[in-house]
Amino acid sequence: MKDEQFTMTLEAPRLSPAMLARWQEEVTRNFLRMKHLAEMVLNPKEPEVGPTPREVIYKKNKSRVYRYASKRTVRTPLLFVPNLGISRPYIFDLMHRGSFIEYMTGQGFDFYLVDWGVFGPEDNGLDVEEVVTRLLPRLARKALQSSGAREMSVLGYCMGAPLSASFVATHPDFPVKNYINMAGPIDFSHVGMFGLWLDPRFFDVDRYVDTMGSIPADMVKAGFKLLKPTMDLSTNLNLWWNLWNPDYVTGFNALNKWANEYQPFPGEFFRQWVKEFYQQNRLVRGELRLGGQAVDLGRITCPVLAIGAKEDNIAPPACVRPFIDAVASTDREYVELPGGHISLIAGRGASVHCWPKVASWLAQRS
């Protein structure tokens, strides 16, 4: 009777040793989450970006051409033309082991990056025409001279694709060995929500540019945030989830710095870009004229690769793919890879899908 009294205790729920270990791991992760959160809030460090060594080979006004040297096991160097305005180009060399440029130089490509620079009110007169017919040809020529090569491959990313494709189509004297369009909108009738919001029925670009002069970075930021309103929520949720992992935190800090560093547009550039590309879709219709010359994508005859990102909501695959039909190249290929507009070229997925594809496609033709 006495013994029975002592055995009448509340039974705690039984946990298997494996489950107990997993709970311990979860508790440890929570401690690490709190520790890293405290570090981020109380002692924020400026992330180091752009780790690959480079040299400026040419500068003109705000724009620069950077050379990232390699062992040059591939003969033809690569000229990379990114978007103008919107964001800074260090996303392509974000961090060690997370850099497209580092990967490509590691594969033996001499890499030339066009950095359009950060434009001020004094550049408001710069338009698409000047970029395609005067600025980009000069930057490309300087890159070619610096490389000592006879030909270059050109890769246009995002807005850099229609700009560089227009340049290649109107400058047959520039020796382009291969051309890659990466997530670059060509047929603006399939450009998604931006196309709808910038429709002339709803958006008066003339009034906007005439009033504001340039397109401020805050306006660019608002547009992109609106495109994916839940992005900040899911980013922060994923941060919390992975906050225990110091590598994730390092990557997050670098990407977050880039993602919040929006850049303004020169007013006239924005006017022409919205009117002639988004609203009138002149490029794919063959109606675009720059510098008094028709821009005919059919004059591009070199090998061409177009890459669309399956979940891209800035340049959906449907507006990238028509590039393949517009060029006259016999060697042409379109691939659709996993990811969104940014994760196509930056991040872990890019290092598995996009970078090897670009390097192997170019290496076979360089």
């Binding site: 919001w197 504001m212 839940t230």
Partner: protein
């Protein structure tokens, strides 16, 4: 079992968001449209969800899988809302509202910007300092000068190249 519960959540979420889209697309006061009660719409969804969670919790000792399930649930919740918002924002009605908002902000920003610019110009002039327009003008002149110098460099390069070719042709092939 957990997977089944998650699938149930997912199904509910999909149906819920689709219903939400339908709800959003109904113009208020549209002729013939039945009155919409958001509570009536969300209640079955929430009830079933809560039921699913209590069933899961009563199955045995709490497992760390619950934390993963919760994260999956939140991811799906965000993804579902993202789809709802994308569908709503991808309509002409939304683009029209956006355009109107932008017009209204320009109506307000235009005169304010003009007044601020004039005020700054006047302040700088009274201090004997260069105005913003003058500084921009100087920067534009510098850019134009740079352009001219580069144009000269290009021409010089072209002349030198031509000279090289002439000299090369004059020397003839090496013997």
């Amino acid at each position: 079992m957990n997977q089944q519960l998650m699938d149930l959540w997912k199904k509910q979420m999909e149906e819920g968001t689709q219903a939400w889209v339908r709800l959003m697309s109904q113009a208020p006061g549209a002729a013939g449209a039945p009155a919409v009660d958001p509570q009536a719409f969300w209640k079955p969804f929430m009830d079933q969800g809560i039921g699913a969670w209590s069933k899961l919790m009563s199955q045995g000792p709490a497992s760390p899988d619950l934390v993963n399930q919760w994260k999956q649930f939140l991811d799906q919740w965000i993804a579902a809302w993202s789809r709802v918002l994308e569908q709503t924002m991808g309509t002409e009605a939304f683009a029209q509202v956006l355009g109107r908002q932008l017009d209204a902000s320009l109506n307000a920003a235009g005169p304010a910007k003009k007044a601020a610019d004039q005020q700054i110009e006047a302040s700088l002039a009274s201090l004997g300092m260069a105005s913003r327009a003058q500084v921009i003008g100087v920067a534009q002149h510098i850019a134009q000068l740079e352009e001219k110098i580069e144009g000269l460099e290009d021409r010089l390069d072209a002349v030198l190249e031509r000279l090289d070719r002439i000299v090369g042709a004059g020397q003839g092939p090496a013997r």
